[in-house]
Symmetry: C2
Subunit: 526 residues, 2 copies
């Protein structure tokens, strides 16, 4: 039986401090449900004392029963010079009726004297009294010792006194915070080890990533005896973000032998992480350890050959262990040996030397010459291979389209509309839509026409739309490459289109993205 | 005098393995020049034995003199069963005439028996003979012990034998590679410490980020005695990337007391990193430690108040130390105290209670209600404040525009064109352009007209263009938010536009981005 590490998620509180993140109340509810289903232990969901939107959230969910997680409201110790029960922030926390609370307090003397401007003695009282008051209300109380590591480095005696005050007040767990994210791994190890000798209740760790060390520092703290890990999904958070739980959890469970989540939830971990990113409307880079689209993507020719012989040659864990998948990328370095793997998925009888393989390679080269780039758009290359091998029956044919977008005088109403005509198995369908610009109008008209034949198209939504001008040094006319990322809530896939006109490039990618969805559904049914 | 750590950059070799990276020969030359100017010690620039484009690169730069860095060609030890001097890969390396070479060899028995399929004894000979041959040619030779940590964990005796073979052959440095990125920090520390006892020549470290630990593992290796650090800029690399030198260098130099780069180069570090990202055409997330746009961005109200009192309250190092800057973000959490800082930049006499402040706040709220989001687009909010305070004299007025984009029949030639009429100080200018779609046509027509008055507009290029459909649950008509990122090679700035039509939204952002450029140039001249 492996030892349990408590996962304390703060995506909805500290994560919401990230630049570019702005959760609606509905978003928060959806993230909370995803986290609860995944099996995290604590969900810190907001700061009711400082944020009216968080109060609305806590009111909305009062009747929601979570399966596993304890909901946590966050705030600070009472202010100086007043009674705990008179503190507006503490009152706001109690009104949320959450079973858990997380209270941050100061442990760095500089912050006490220079920022909140009270005395060191009063600060200790603020901590102890706030803990005692909340414990008397029956709460599960975590004390977040803000700036603990900076405080310890500056005045270890006082930093420990702050922890002792929280312990004395009855806190259930003391989370040591590297609030500024500047602490080095050797320091974390040494300081946690020292704190463990002086504190008898469980410790937690809360790291920020300003030095690129938040994940390592969290693992090192666990190794030194900490039993609660705070972080956010995908490392959302202010500045460089918080410790990324999507990286920490697999490391703890798959590599360090601790228990965080139920095994079956870890097997679905990548799609849970993608879901949180989607709700947060936060683009993934693909490079995210364990859950990124590139995390198990192989590009170098030698690497690909080795992975084909034995995946552990270039994979530290199996992608299946976290619900991710292996991908083989195109590039001038990998070349033909990559393509052949994808060709074999369609027709296992073909080899590197088959005429069909040459035809596919020639077609890819011709498209690359035109400005296509298939890395990150394997769904487009999979379709291309099927087309070249004559194994793809298109789900529809676009017979005609027209977009109209004419505007005169800035500030007048603008309008774009599109008409499309498609054909499915000999049956034509014409439809039209207005849209937010010509591409959106086309997208909508196309979907309206297709949903007549394929109702599942309604599950798909565009999650990202990227346009790059291709810097073609020799040609006079530059081209644009459009990448469209789509999701049906389970998978995310990307398609590419290139043209001298952004509308045509978009349309090529759009058609591929729909074909790919329909093909994937068909293959899943088999 | 602080101890020197040799910086070994592999952006152009291992970094080129990243999904989405595809360097042209010109790109490689520009990255090389940037790295040399910055003062890295080694630039590993390609693998001539496996990549024809790299051979072209090395041929092109044979006459280039670098100021400081040693250029390095990369390849593997000789193949099994042949003489070093007959190995095509070794010949290709020598033909590059680089002063440095980096040779990878196997130290994990599983890779020798199962992947390259030779004997353990022959592998040791391959290493030693390759080292000896290259040293005889006068090269500065680094031996990359591929999969060293996995090899050591599996068979420490053999892994050390592989290192001893390279030492015996005369290698100048032995780089211990965590090729699969799966090694934990505690393991790195223990293994490096053990290797140090058995090897007398300098050690290097080469980490991958599959567990999110590459930076920490590199720092821990240095702490344990390694003196050469390999990595890539911004962590480019296969799968989850390589160790990020843009994070490692400031950590080593500012926090651990080692010497990597000249101090004056560290002061320009952020712009050097942005330059490499630009050449690589790789979007930054902003969250990058030290060099990201968000790295010193403050959003929470309490944090902002504290940073105003004393920046070290929420900053682990000063942004100036790496040539970055502090930013104060808008959000419902920070609110008025944030805006007032930006207002004071324009008019220091205004306070939170001024009528002007209320007017700015009301305008921002109204725009946010329309779907604007100003985080990440401070350049738009700075312009807004100037406009509301009557302190902005527009550099131009867009008097009229018209876009024409009509296409019939898919596969026919598509064309988009635009006509714009602007006015600068009472002087009108009308111009037109064709473009890759209506937005591009507008952009080009606008620039053509403006360059008549402002030649510096030609320095600006759009580096990213993002379109997001705003999920407005209550309204029937959805809106789009366009973010346009622009660069003049020195700065990167982002502007935002919202409209029900993507063309209008783009135009709003485009006009702001040009106004911002002209305003910044004007302020720089003051």
């Amino acid at each position: 039986m492996s030892e349990k590490i408590l996962v304390f998620d703060s995506t909805l509180r500290d994560g919401a401090q990230a630049e570019g993140i702005s959760f609606s109340v509905e978003d928060k509810i959806r993230v909370m449900e995803t986290l609860d289903k995944m099996g995290v232990d604590y969900i810190e969901a907001g700061n009711p004392g400082s944020n009216p939107k968080d109060i609305e959230f806590f009111n909305r969910i009062k009747d929601v029963q979570l399966n596993h997680a304890k909901l946590v409201a966050f705030g600070s110790t009472r202010r100086g010079g007043i009674a705990v029960e008179d503190d507006a922030n503490i009152k706001a926390i109690l009104e949320t009726q959450t079973p858990g609370v997380a209270i941050f307090g100061k442990s760095w003397t500089f912050h006490i004297t220079d920022i909140i401007k009270t005395t060191l003695a009063e600060n200790l009282k603020m901590i102890e009294e706030t803990m005692a008051y909340l414990k008397a209300q029956g709460k599960d109380v975590t004390f977040d010792a803000e700036h603990f590591f900076d405080g310890y480095k500056n005045d270890p005696g006082y930093a420990i006194e702050a922890l002792l005050a929280a312990q004395e007040g009855g806190a259930d767990c003391l989370a040591l915070c590297d609030t500024n994210g500047g602490t080095l791994p050797f320091e974390i190890e040494k300081i946690v080890t020292d704190v463990r000798k002086k504190i008898r209740i469980p410790l937690g760790i809360h790291c920020h990533n300003d030095s690129g060390l938040a994940v390592a520092n969290s693992l090192i703290a666990v190794n030194a005896g900490v039993r609660q890990v705070q972080g956010t999904f995908l490392g959302y958070g202010e500045r460089c973000g918080n410790a990324n739980l999507a990286t920490i959890i697999p490391n703890l469970q798959l590599k360090m032998g601790y228990h965080c989540l139920a095994d079956e939830e870890l097997l679905k971990f990548t799609s849970s992480a993608i879901r949180i990113a989607e709700i947060s409307n936060y683009a993934l880079t693909g490079k995210e350890p364990f859950v990124g689209k590139s995390a198990f993507a192989h590009k170098g020719g030698m690497h690909i050959d080795a992975v084909m012989k034995n995946p552990s040659s270039f994979e530290h864990v199996s992608p299946d262990a976290v619900g991710n998948e292996r991908r083989i990328l195109m590039s001038e370095v990998s070349g033909r040996s990559t393509i052949i793997q994808l060709i074999k998925e369609v027709d296992p009888s073909l080899t590197k030397k088959s005429a069909e393989t040459t035809r596919v390679m020639d077609r890819i080269k011709a498209l690359e010459y035109q400005g296509y780039q298939f890395e990150g758009a394997e769904s487009s290359i999979k379709l291309l291979i099927r087309k070249e091998l004559g194994k793809h029956k298109p789900f529809f044919i676009l017979e005609d389209f027209k977009t109209i977008g004419e505007k005169t005088h800035y500030k007048e109403a603008l309008s774009s509309s599109a008409v499309v005509k498609i054909n499915v198995d000999g049956q034509s369908e014409i439809n039209a839509a207005e849209g937010d610009g010509p591409v959106n109008a086309l997208d909508k008209a196309l979907r309206k026409a297709l949903e007549v034949f394929y109702p599942k198209i309604s599950e798909v939504r565009l999650t990202d739309f990227k346009v790059r001008v291709i810097d073609s040094r020799s040609a006079t006319a530059s081209k644009v490459r459009v990448l469209i990322e789509s999701s049906d809530g389970i998978d995310i896939w990307t398609n590419v289109g290139v043209s001298s006109d952004v509308i045509e490039a978009s349309l090529i990618a759009l058609i591929d993205s729909i074909e790919y969805k329909l093909l994937s559904d068909e293959e899943r049914q088999k």
